[in-house]
């Protein structure tokens, strides 16, 4: 049995998707634009705008002069790929081999699939019906080869089916562009009057190769099935999910414990095989009265340690109300990450320590929440509040050195607090200051250290920091914001030195 290929073309992929999300745009002309070398170029056009003479790759200014009421939206480069992949995964219901061809084509290997729909006509009709219901405009074709199906789909009659052996006949009337050639070659062919494929398909291959290059021969051979064309099929993602139906409704905490243990065992075995660890895990319990009870745990490091994960669930068991009984447990791991198998050898002691600490942190965050745990890394900023950043994981290493050349207080106030000061002359540290009702006489002072605002992050006044010591030997970090010329001077307490 020969190979059969269906090609599905979405002529308005991105705009159709947008209309699905924002149906109010349906009656209005709109374009999606992207900035390219300083110019705003149209990347996708709605059907209404297209009828008014706007096409892809026009400059936005020209479009605006043609059609002042045009609505302009931003174009996301990654959108077509994401969309096509999602559509390809959906199309796996039609064929197990679905590949994508950017920017807007799906290629389905349908050998041996169509009889399930009662023939190729019905098969295509079903695809059309489904996609039209979703709001997508589609064109399609079925042929023995990708090349022919692509050509007929783009330039022939919609939903046409080319039987085996009829490729030459189908192709010969189509324009040269149907062969997926480069624009330069198409121009050349056009100049020579070779407008249809039929006009040059039968020419001697040596002549074609000499004049137009190898690619023309290759495309013809691919279209006629003389050369195999290989595509990369989309692999469906099987979710990390385990189910455990119970023979009789489970009503006790012990029963739930056993269920969780079994599910974790199954899930972790699969994670082990695929060298992955889970970061998030949900347990869904289906009760016989139709209520669904859900609990969730998270880990700070990918983990597939059954004991550890069970410990995390253990705290949550009391929250699961079995009521009349639970008949089905489903465990999902929606977030998984790569996890290399650990080696419990002598030289990885520190790594082992880290995983023990990570497990401790998981337990702590189970009670206090993940946002309660912080680890800091240096950031290259002078502004004190920006001089450190949160680390994402336990193993993240600092990218720069911590700065120690400038005096920094060990305790810092969450927000600078206003103080009253008495200053002899501008740009001098204060003689005394009042903080929370207590007057501190300044005996020694260092400064000022001026820290300017990082204008690319935030606007505002600069700060002049002083490090002062009062009569009791307590040391403070004060700053003045703004200068005296502007008349807008305020003093703040920002931290305590040791």
């Amino acid at each position: 049995m020969s190979r059969r290929i269906a090609v599905i073309w979405f002529p308005h992929l991105v705009t159709d998707r947008l209309l699905r999300k924002q149906p109010e745009l349906k009656t209005q002309p709109f374009v999606l634009v992207m900035t390219e070398r300083g110019r705003r170029i149209v990347k996708a056009v709605s059907i209404i705008a297209q009828e008014k003479g706007i096409h892809v790759n026009m400059v936005l200014a020209d479009c605006k002069s043609l059609l002042p009421e045009l609505i302009v939206l931003d174009y996301d480069e990654t959108e077509p790929k994401k969309l096509l992949t999602a559509l390809a995964e959906w199309c796996i219901r039609y064929s197990p081999f679905v590949s994508i061809d950017l920017p807007d084509v799906l290629i389905l290997d349908i050998s041996g699939c169509t009889h399930l729909w009662g023939g190729e006509e019905n098969y295509l009709e079903d695809i059309h019906k489904k996609f039209t219901a979703f709001g997508y405009t589609v064109r399609s074709a079925i042929a023995d080869t990708i090349g022919t199906a692509w050509a007929v789909c783009h330039f022939g009659n919609n939903a046409s089916i080319i039987d085996t052996g009829n490729e030459i006949k189908a192709l010969s009337t189509l324009p040269a562009a149907a062969l997926r050639l480069e624009p330069a070659i198409i121009d050349k062919l056009d100049k020579l009057g070779l407008k249809t494929i039929g006009s040059f398909m039968m020419m001697p291959s040596t002549a074609l190769k000499r004049r137009f290059g190898q690619s023309v021969l290759k495309r013809i051979a691919q279209a006629l099935g003389e050369e195999m064309e290989i595509t990369d099929p989309v692999e469906p993602v099987t979710p990390f999910q385990e189910r455990l139906p119970s023979l009789e409704p489970i009503r006790t905490a012990e029963g739930i414990e056993i269920a969780i243990k079994n599910l974790l065992q199954m899930l972790c075995e699969r994670l082990q095989r695929e060298m992955k660890g889970l970061r998030k895990c949900t347990l869904t319990c289906y009760r016989i009265d139709g209520v669904i009870v859900k609990t969730e745990i998270g880990t700070s490091k990918p983990s597939r340690n059954t004991l550890h994960l069970f410990k995390l669930f253990e705290n949550k068991i009391s929250q699961i109300e079995p009521d009349l009984g639970i008949e089905l447990f489903v465990m999902d791991a929606p977030v998984v990450e790569e996890l290399q198998s650990s080696q419990d050898a002598l030289w990885t002691v520190s790594g082992k320590d880290e995983s023990v600490i990570a497990e401790l942190l998981d337990r702590l965050s189970g009670k206090t929440g993940v946002q309660a745990i912080h680890r800091y890394l240096p950031a290259e900023h002078y502004w004190p509040e920006h001089s450190f950043k949160e680390a994402i994981s336990l193993s993240e290493k600092p990218s720069t050195e911590w700065r120690t050349d400038l005096p920094r207080p060990l305790h810092i106030l969450p927000a600078p607090e206003l103080i009253e000061v008495s200053v002899p002359i501008p740009d001098y540290p204060p003689l005394l200051f009042r903080y929370k009702g207590t007057i501190h006489n300044v005996k020694k002072a260092d400064g000022p250290e001026r820290i300017e605002q990082e204008w690319w992050l935030q606007q505002g006044l600069y700060r002049d920091y002083y490090c002062v010591e009062d009569e009791h030997g307590s040391r403070y970090w004060l700053f003045r914001s703004g200068d005296y010329d502007s008349g807008n001077v305020k003093w703040f307490m920002h931290g305590f030195f040791t």
Binding site: L360, L364, T368, G473, F496, F497, T498
Partner: protein
Amino acid sequence: MRKVADRTIIEQLKQQIEKLQGNQVHAAEQPSQIGLGIMENAFPGNVFAKGAIHELISNSAEEATCTSGFISVVLGKLMPNTGYCLWISTVPRRRIFPTALKGFGIDPERILFVDAGKTKDTLWAIEEALKCDALVAVVGEITELTFNDSRRLQLAVEKSHVTGFIHRFKPKTENAVACVSRWKVSPITSSLSDVPGVGFSRWDVQLLKVRNGKTGKWQVQWCPNGLEYIAPEQIIIQEIDERQIG
């Protein structure tokens, strides 16, 4: 001869008591000084007590900062190159500026800060952390610590040998707890000879209680070379008439 025999008996009894109190030393672990200087002589065996809970009390924001500074210095000695420390605080109190920690000889990225919510949760978190033997030390910032709670913490470290620091900020009463020591650290006037300006951090470190040791009081200075002791005669309470500005 009789006296010598008595002394050995007393030594043995002392060791037995130490064991009963949970202060037995690991056979594999040779106790050695951690580098705090003469301060360590106050502890039994002239070695700073690792694997135990130390209590520190501060009554003002300034004292709290100096206490954090002192804890950081000891942490720097305990985990010079590797290891992690957990710094657990009740929510509104944590004021540590991570960037400044590097100046006390610790890598700030090796400290994990936990903002536990209520006092109850904080104590639970501290206890869980103290049970984890992969950590070097745990710092807990809380206000009140009952005797029972402190006993629980002490039992946790006896197994795991993690060093614990409980920093109590403005406690209502300085009640008796089952920690090996009680410290108080307060700031004192810094001094720079010749040049004006603020000098290195100087603290008055008081060891108010220590189990089986001698209490003490030291004046120390933290400078780039490490911890320096200030001899009593060097401490001059200066009467400064003119302000020094640098």
